[in-house]
């Protein structure tokens, strides 16, 4: 199982704070994640996540490049839109 956590506005668009997706023997890459979000979620969600400003973290480690995504069973992917903190 791979957990996907939606932060900020993405949680509204996903209508949930997180999703659990079944893992396959192959790793889950960036294109595969977008496919999952579109099929299990919505096109709107996949488009919102595709925006350049959304960053990814895997198990609390920020990815320098989303193309490096290779999530395995038990991993947690966080989808991080631009912050508006302080």
């Amino acid at each position: 199982m791979i957990k996907v956590v939606y932060l900020g506005k993405l949680a509204d668009i996903a209508r949930e704070a997180q999703s659990d997706f079944a893992s396959t023997s192959d790793g889950l890459g960036w294109a595969g994640l977008l496919d999952l979000l579109e099929s299990h979620g919505s096109t709107e969600l996949a488009d919102a996540v595709r925006a350049d400003t959304v960053k990814l973290a895997v198990n609390g480690q920020l990815l320098a490049d989303r193309a490096l995504l290779d999530a395995r069973d038990g991993d947690e992917i966080a989808l991080l839109p631009p912050v508006s903190g302080g």
Partner: protein, 147 residues
């Protein structure tokens, strides 16, 4: 002393600052900044979401950068998460240093970086529901001052 916390309930900035100052009697001075939920503009509540695996580590990283850049005796950074009401404190920063310029600049530096580089997402409740707050252009200009 570094005192960095995410705080889920309300807290007393004056109490925190008093304890921090007492712990740094050797410093020449203590600078601070406290940001609070601004009343007015129809805002009924503010909610800050964070991502636990990144947020506290990110705050620690910012404060350590400030320590590396300014000569400090200690620093405090407390940040609320969850839902807060107008007039309530959101963030308290403090820095103790032998020289006042270091203390004041460290607070300024940490606040600028928290605004645009810390993992918080903010939304406001108005009479017509919740609205996400977008990053302000000014926040990015503020952080650029330190490069």
């Amino acid at each position: 002393m570094l005192d960095i916390r995410l705080i889920e309930g309300i807290f007393s900035p004056a109490g925190a600052l008093h304890a921090f100052t007492a712990a740094h009697g050797e410093a020449g001075g203590v600078a601070s900044f406290c940001g609070q939920v601004r009343p007015g503009g129809g805002v009924e509540a503010l909610e800050l979401t964070h991502y636990a695996p990144l947020t506290l580590a990110g705050m620690e990283d910012i404060v350590q950068k400030a320590q590396a850049r300014f000569v400090l005796d200690g620093a405090l950074a407390w940040h609320r998460v969850g839902t807060m009401m107008p007039g309530e404190p959101i963030v308290l920063l403090a820095a103790a240093a032998t020289h006042r310029r270091n203390a004041i600049d460290a607070v300024d530096f940490v606040m600028d970086h928290l605004k645009s580089a810390a993992w918080f997402w903010k939304r406001e409740k108005r009479s017509d529901g919740w609205h996400w707050i977008s990053p302000r252009e000014a926040d990015h200009e503020d952080i650029a001052r330190w490069r």
